[in-house]
C-alpha cells in the first residue's frame, strides 16, 4: 500500500470525521438487527435529511457505500457480480457496485446493511437515480417513493415547481408515518432545519477560506472527507459542532499563512467526481506539481451553499424544497454549472480548470466537451480534460492520465514564467 501522501490533510478534523462516520455505520448496523431506528435510503444529491429528523430516522446513502467500496479497492467484485446479472459495461458503476453488494450481502465496512424502511428516490437531476431505486426496490421488496424534483429549466424554479415538491414532501411525511408507526415531530423537523441553517453557514465560511492564497486545504480531495458529515449529520448538533471545529482549524492555518504545500504553485478548480478507485494515485499526480484545488463542483452535489442559500426554519418545507430544486449542482442546468465554475475561477483566483470526465456518470459528463470548449475558446482559461471512472477501477490508465497532467502543468509553468496567466486571443 502506498504511504499517505504528505499533502493529505491529517488534522483533528480527519479523526473526528472518522468517528462520526463510524457512529453512523454502527447505527445502521443496529438498525439492520433491530429495525430501529427507521432508515431511509436516498440520494446524496440535494438530499432532505432534515425531513428524516422529524421521525428520528437515519439516512442510508447508497452513493456513500459505493464510494467507500471504491476507495477501499473493493468495487470490482460487486461490479462484476452486477454485470453477471445483465448490467452493461456502460451502466453507471455506482449502481452496479451497490446492486452487487445487495446481491452478495456485503457492505464496505463489513457490517450489515438494513433493509430500508423506505426507499426515497429524491429524483434530483440524475435519471439514473430513478433506475437505481426501482432496481433496489424490485430486489429488496422495500417500499419506494419517487420524489420527483423538476429540473431547473430557467434560473429559478416556478411556483408550480415549488408547490409540486412541497406537496410530495407532505406525501412522504404521511407515508413515513404509516411505515414507521411514528407521528411526525414537526418541532424536531424545524429544529433540524435550524441546525442545517447554522451548519451551512459554517460550511460556507470554510469554503471561502480557500480563497486565501495559499489555500488552507484542498477543496476537492480534502473537501470529500468533509462531505460525509455534511450529508449525514448536517441537521444535528454534532454536525454543527464538527464543522465549527473544522472552521477553527482551517482558520488557524490561514492566520499562519499555511497551505497544503510548503509553497503552493498552482490553484485549480475541479469539475466532475473523482476517480475513487485510484484516489491516492490521482491526488499524487497533482501534488507532484504542488497544485491545490481551491474549489470543486463535486463538493456541491449535496448542496450549494457558498453562494448564500440557507435552510429556513420559518419555512421548513419550502426551504427543503428549494434546496432540492435549486441549491445543489445536480439539479442545476449545464449553463448554470459553467457560471458556477467561472465564478470559482475568478473569485477563488484559480489558474486553470480540471475537467474529470467520468464514464459512469452522464449527469456530470455528457457535454463536458462543450464545457471545455467554452472555457478554453470563449474565456481563454486553461482547461484540462481527462477521462476515467468514479467506481470502476478498469478505466484508469495511469500513464496516459499522468502524461496529460504533466503536459498541462508544463504549459502552465511555462506561461507563468513568461509572466502571469496564459494569455490567448479570445474567439467567439
Amino acid at each position: 500500500m502506498a504511504n499517505i501522501p504528505a499533502t493529505e490533510y491529517r488534522g483533528g478534523v480527519h479523526q473526528r470525521q472518522k468517528d462520526l462516520m463510524l457512529d453512523w455505520y454502527a447505527t445502521l448496523d443496529q438498525a439492520a438487527h433491530t429495525a430501529d431506528p427507521p432508515t431511509v435510503s436516498m440520494m446524496v444529491s440535494g438530499n432532505c435529511v432534515e425531513l428524516l429528523e422529524g421521525f428520528g430516522a437515519v439516512p442510508i446513502y447508497p452513493e456513500v457505500n459505493a464510494l467507500q467500496l471504491a476507495i477501499r479497492h473493493q468495487s470490482l467484485e460487486p461490479i462484476l457480480a452486477a454485470e453477471d446479472m445483465g448490467y452493461a459495461a456502460d451502466n453507471c458503476a455506482y449502481v452496479k457496485a451497490d446492486i452487487g453488494c445487495y446481491v452478495k450481502g456485503t457492505t464496505p465496512t463489513g457490517g450489515k446493511m438494513p433493509k430500508p424502511t423506505l426507499l426515497l428516490c429524491n429524483f434530483v437531476g440524475c435519471n439514473t437515480y430513478a433506475k437505481w431505486f426501482e432496481h433496489v426496490a424490485t430486489l429488496t421488496g422495500a417500499p419506494l417513493y419517487m420524489l420527483d424534483v423538476p429540473f431547473l429549466r430557467g434560473d429559478q424554479p416556478s411556483q408550480a415547481d415549488l408547490d409540486y415538491v412541497v406537496r410530495q414532501l407532505h406525501e412522504v411525511v404521511t407515508l413515513l408515518e404509516r411505515l414507521t408507526g411514528r407521528a411526525f415531530d414537526y418541532a424536531r423537523f424545524q429544529q433540524a432545519v435550524d441546525w442545517s441553517r447554522q451548519t451551512e453557514e459554517i460550511w460556507s465560511q470554510i469554503k471561502h477560506l480557500s480563497q486565501h492564497v495559499p489555500s488552507p486545504f484542498d477543496a476537492y480531495f480534502d473537501a470529500i472527507t468533509l462531505m460525509g458529515p455534511l450529508y449525514v449529520h448536517r441537521a444535528k448538533r454534532e454536525g454543527l459542532e464538527f464543522f465549527q471545529a473544522a472552521l477553527a482549524e482551517f482558520q488557524q492555518k490561514v492566520d499562519l499563512n499555511q497551505g497544503i504545500y510548503d509553497q503552493e504553485k498552482f490553484r485549480l478548480v475541479f469539475e466532475g467526481p473523482p476517480p475513487y478507485p485510484h484516489f491516492r494515485t490521482f491526488r499524487d499526480m497533482f501534488a507532484k506539481w504542488k497544485a491545490c484545488a481551491v474549489a470543486s463542483t463535486y463538493s456541491t452535489v449535496g448542496g450549494l451553499w457558498e453562494f448564500g442559500f440557507r435552510h429556513d426554519p420559518e419555512r421548513p418545507f419550502e426551504s427543503v424544497a428549494m434546496h432540492m430544486l435549486v441549491h445543489n449542482v445536480t439539479n442545476r442546468n449545464y449553463l448554470q454549472r459553467y457560471e458556477q465554475i467561472h465564478r470559482y475561477v475568478k473569485e477563488w483566483k484559480a489558474d486553470g480548470i480540471i475537467v474529470h470526465f467520468v464514464k459512469s456518470c452522464r449527469l456530470f459528463s455528457a457535454g463536458q466537451g462543450d464545457m471545455r470548449d467554452y472555457f478554453t475558446k470563449q474565456l481563454g482559461i486553461p482547461t484540462l480534460y481527462i477521462e476515467s471512472d468514479i467506481e470502476d477501477p478498469r478505466y484508469f490508465s495511469e500513464a496516459q492520465i499522468k502524461n496529460r497532467i504533466d503536459a498541462f502543468f508544463e504549459a502552465l509553468e511555462h506561461s507563468k514564467q513568461a509572466g502571469g496567466h496564459v494569455t490567448r486571443e479570445v474567439h467567439v
Partner: protein, 384 residues
C-alpha cells in the same frame, strides 16, 4: 406498385438531412414556424395547435459523419445525441425555429443546454415530464408545465393558442395514433404482408410529415394492404424492444427479417403511440393532455411509473401478439435501455421465452457480427 412508391418516397424524405419537406411546408405556410423535438413524449398537439410544424428528430442516421459534435459530447454518449448536435453545428437545422427537449435521460437533457449555448438564435426549451405518476400533484404540475410551454410558443409564434385549436389538434393526433395502432395490428396478424421495415417507415413518417398528410398516407396504405399478395414464411414471431429513442438503421431491421424473424411488435418510433387510448377532446384540453401522460402513456425506459412497471408492459405485448421470442435491440450507450434490460430479461425468463440482446449504432455499415448472432438465435429455435 403504389405501396412500393409510397415506401420509396418515405425513405427518401427520411434521409433528407436538409429537411426539404419542412422548408416546403414553411413556404406553403408563410410566417409559420417549425419546431423540432427530441423523439420521445413531446406534446405535439400543443405545437400543432400553435400553427407550427412539429418535427421529431431522431438523429441523422448514417448520412452524416460526426466531425464536430464529439468535441462537445465525448466518449460513452449515444449516437443520437451526437448526430443531433452535429446537425446543429453543420447548419442542417436552419429550417427550425425551436427545439424542444424533455426529461428522458441525462445525455438528452444536457444536450438541451449545450444547444442553448451554441444556437442562441433558436428557441430551445426543456420540458420536465413528471416521474411520480403515483402522486396527484403530478397532473397539476404537468398542467402548469404545459401552460408554460404554451406561453413560450405563443411568444415565438406571436399568436395565442386557443382551446378550440388544441381540441382540434388532439382529435387529429388521436386519429393518427389510432391508424398507427391499426397498422401494428395488421402486421401482428399478417407479418408476411407488411414487413417491419415498411411499417417502420410509415410510423417514422409521423415524425416529420404534417399530421394531416400522415393520416392520409396511413389511410391510403391501410386500404391497399388488404389486397397485397404474399406467402407466409417459416419464421419466428419476435417482439423487438429497446429502440424507443435512437433508431436502428433500416438495414438492421431488414437484416432481422432476412434472418428469419417476423417482427410482430416493436417500439420503433414510439412517438406515434404514446397513449394507450385517446386523449379526451372534451373539457380542458391542457389538463386532458397532462392526465393522459400521467395516467395513460405507453411505457418506455424513460418513463417511470413503479405502480405499472415497464416489464409488465413488455409481458402484455408478448402475450397479446403471441410472440415466441424477444430481441432486445439497444442503442450503444443508451443508459436507460441498458438498465431496463436487466429487469426485462428477468421477466422474459420468467415467461420462459428466449431472448437475444443486440446493440446497434446509427452508423453501422457492416452487419456481419449482428447477423451471425441473429442467425444463430433463429437457428437455435428452428433447427431440431
Amino acid at each position: 406498385m403504389e405501396l412500393e412508391r409510397t415506401f420509396d418516397n418515405l425513405s427518401e424524405i427520411l434521409q433528407d438531412l436538409s429537411f426539404g419537406s419542412v422548408r416546403r411546408w414553411k413556404e406553403e405556410h408563410p410566417g409559420s414556424k417549425a419546431v423540432a423535438f427530441f423523439p420521445v413524449y413531446a406534446p405535439v398537439e400543443i405545437i400543432h395547435a400553435a400553427g407550427m410544424l412539429p418535427v421529431g428528430l431522431a438523429g441523422a442516421g448514417d448520412k452524416l459523419d460526426i466531425q464536430h459534435a464529439d468535441s462537445r459530447f465525448g466518449s460513452f454518449i449515444c449516437s443520437i445525441v451526437k448526430t443531433t448536435m452535429e446537425m446543429g453545428m453543420t447548419n442542417h437545422l436552419d429550417a427550425f425555429d425551436g427545439f424542444l427537449f424533455s426529461s428522458i435521460c441525462d445525455s438528452a437533457r444536457n444536450l438541451c443546454f449545450v444547444f442553448k449555448r451554441n444556437f442562441p438564435q433558436m428557441y430551445v426549451d426543456f420540458l420536465h415530464l413528471p416521474h411520480n405518476s403515483a402522486s396527484p400533484a403530478s397532473v397539476d404540475f404537468l398542467d402548469a408545465e404545459y401552460r408554460r410551454i404554451i406561453g413560450e410558443l405563443e411568444r415565438l409564434g406571436g399568436k395565442r393558442i386557443n382551446d378550440a385549436a388544441l381540441r382540434n389538434s388532439i382529435d387529429l393526433y388521436n386519429l393518427q395514433r389510432k391508424l398507427v395502432r391499426r397498422l401494428y395490428q395488421f402486421r401482428a396478424d399478417s407479418p408476411h404482408l407488411l414487413r417491419a421495415w415498411e411499417s417502420y417507415l410509415l410510423t417514422r413518417a409521423g415524425n416529420f410529415l404534417p399530421v394531416e398528410e400522415h393520416i392520409a398516407t396511413l389511410e391510403g396504405v391501410l386500404s391497399l394492404l388488404k389486397d397485397r399478395p404474399g406467402k407466409r414464411r417459416d419464421s419466428i414471431r419476435v417482439v423487438v424492444e429497446g429502440s424507443f429513442c435512437e433508431q436502428p438503421p433500416l438495414d438492421v431491421i431488414r437484416m432481422l427479417e432476412a434472418a428469419g424473424c417476423d417482427i410482430v411488435e416493436d417500439d420503433f418510433a414510439l412517438a406515434q403511440r404514446w397513449f394507450h387510448g385517446d386523449v379526451p377532446s372534451t373539457g380542458d384540453p391542457v389538463r386532458a393532455l397532462a392526465e393522459s401522460y400521467v395516467r395513460d402513456a405507453v411505457y418506455s425506459s424513460v418513463r417511470h411509473d413503479f405502480a405499472h412497471p415497464r416489464w409488465e408492459g413488455l409481458a402484455d405485448k408478448i402475450r397479446n401478439t403471441h410472440a415466441e421470442a424477444v430481441i432486445m435491440l439497444i442503442a450503444k450507450f443508451c443508459e436507460p435501455a441498458y438498465f431496463d434490460y436487466v429487469l426485462f430479461k428477468k421477466k422474459i425468463e420468467e415467461m420462459g421465452l428466449p431472448h437475444l440482446l443486440l446493440e446497434f449504432e446509427e452508423k453501422l455499415f457492416t452487419f456481419d457480427r449482428l447477423r451471425t448472432e441473429v442467425e444463430t438465435f433463429v437457428e437455435s429455435l428452428v433447427f431440431d
